[in-house]
Amino acid sequence: MIQALADGILTGAIIALGAIGVTFTLAIMRFANFAHSELLTWGAYLALVVVAFAGPGTPTGPLSFGWQLLAAALIAAILTGLAAWAVDLLVFRRLRRQGAMPLTMVFAAFGAALVMRHLIVLVWGHESRYYTRELQMAVELLPGVRVLPDQMFILGLALAAMIALHAFLAWSRTGIAMRAMAESPALAQVCGVEVEAVVRLTWIISGALAAFAGVFVGLTPQLHPEIGFNLLLSLFAAAIFGGTGSLAGAVVGGFLVGLGENLSLLVISPGYKGAMPFLLLLAILILRPQGIFGERK
């Protein structure tokens, strides 16, 4: 039971990082980006490329990797942010300019997701990959609750990233412009917010956070081309749970979905775990479609 709680919090942190990007594209770009999950996969594999050159580093302390892997994650985050923006330039911006309906964008995202995921398969195949082959002993955090040191580190890093983003949104001029766009694009434009600049920044931040989430999934313990896709429903459940455009909402939603998935394993067979985020999503959509932090329109 407590073990399931601990696992839920750890998965929750990863889902929250991914859901932040989903919630911002829902609020600022006004469409459900089915390709967001592929940014997680891309981030994880881009980090793998860096690790292939630099190595995962010598294990530091109780961790299974060294500073090199963190550097790799950082580089992957920047590259994935740029990749997300590139997809926007190639596909979504053209559609926006044509005045496409939001649902056409959703469909284009579907197509982009397939292409992105299978480019990974094309290069790396379906086999599982590892950043590091180091074995790691779980530490007993509380009686009966075992956690890997890597997982604790990931949780800390994810929380730090969320706090940094919150500070950026709350206090910086660009951050305020982003929140304004999420509230009302028309009103933001009237107030002199540069729409394209905000859109670009949104993609880069979403991509970077997704890359971190992807690396964290890959680190505990392996990566394969479906790591992002398997989280797709969880990401949407978390984003909608929190209410679109709300950072705090996405984070809380992420943790709740992570906890829900892991606690459900106490009663259902693991084969059905993949359906849990869907059931949570359905419950939210029926009970409170605007999300916990959203306002009724």
Partner: protein, 312 residues
């Protein structure tokens, strides 16, 4: 070669039924069903469970006649469409997409995990085929099935045409174009949408039953999310809102898919089969994005209809 063409034509016609069903939901009503494969799977498994030859280890496998399986498949997928529609139809468009996508994922999980009923990853075999005992060779059966499919397709196409031209069909378009105006005229947008969703789901279930009774076995790996994507690609490429376009799209997209499959299997060594399959998906994905960007109406778009009461 001829036997392959007959097989190919049967598959295209089955996928054509799916595409017509999606066209009813998306092209004419504006409902984003991202879980097409879920309803397809419900039809396929209903038919399989009812008609497969009895086996001790399975709950189902009742060995019922083919026609019973087909009708039951339509009934269960209609019921599923109604239940899911009740909950999701009032949502905004992209939430409906996410919810229906989740439905398809969950149904696939059930197919994969509920072994006593669905055979799990093994699937079910010896599924009821229409009048199979009359034919000695697979080719003979395929030829007969093709004839059956052509008759069914003509019937469905004609029926959909009538339905869409009827007052009911015109209300659907009215709601899609301007919901407020349609509601102001006293039409319940929600009821019409739900009805169109259920009718589309029923046809998807029919397509599923036809597919497994043609192939003769059912496997959860035939119902992956990629199928939803293929059907959507067929509709968008052909031209949504136009039934002839939907059928043309089914033919073009499946020809590209099957053709690239043959090409890949010839050019790519078996050890690289995963990469070859990836190329296939990338091709179809790019094709779709290019159509969306450069020919958003599709090959044959929706015909503009002007009321006969309008005079210049």
């Amino acid at each position: 070669m001829l036997s392959y063409l007959v097989f190919f034509a049967c598959i295209v016609l089955i996928l054509g039924v799916l595409t017509l069903a999606l066209n009813l939901q998306w092209g004419f009503t504006g409902l984003f069903n991202a879980g097409v494969v879920g309803f397809y799977a419900i039809g396929a498994y209903t038919h399989a469970i009812l008609t497969a030859a009895p086996q001790a280890q399975y709950i189902g496998n009742f060995g019922l006649p083919w026609l019973v399986g087909v009708l039951a498949a339509m009934a269960t997928s209609a019921l599923a469409g109604w239940l899911i529609g009740l909950v999701t139809i009032r949502l905004r468009g992209d939430y409906l997409a996410i919810a229906t996508f989740g439905v398809a994922v969950s149904i696939q999980l059930v197919a994969l995990n509920w072994e006593p009923l669905t055979g799990g990853s093994q699937g079910l075999t010896r599924i009821g085929k229409p009048l199979a005992h009359l034919f000695d060779t697979p080719f003979g059966f395929n030829l007969w099935f093709l004839g059956l499919m052509i008759v069914l397709m003509v019937t469905i196409y004609w029926a959909l045409d009538r339905v869409l031209m009827s007052p009911w069909g015109r209300v659907l378009k009215a709601i899609r174009e301007d919901e407020t105006a349609a509601v102001a005229l006293g039409k319940s947008a929600r009821r019409f949408r739900l009805e169109a969703f259920v009718l589309g789901s029923t046809l998807m279930g029919l397509a599923g039953a036809l597919y497994v009774s043609f192939i003769g076995f059912v496997s959860p790996f035939d119902f992956l999310p990629i199928v939803t994507f293929q059907v959507w690609a067929m509709l968008i490429v052909g031209g949504s809102g136009n039934n002839r376009g939907a059928l043309l799209g089914a033919l073009v997209v499946w020809a590209i898919w099957a053709g690239s499959g043959v090409l890949v299997s010839k050019l790519v060594p078996p050890s690289r089969a995963a990469q070859g399959a990836a190329v296939q998906v990338i091709l179809i994905g790019l094709f779709l994005l290019l159509v969306l960007l450069f020919r958003p109406r599709g090959l044959i778009g929706e015909a503009a209809v002007v009321s006969r009461h309008v005079t210049d």
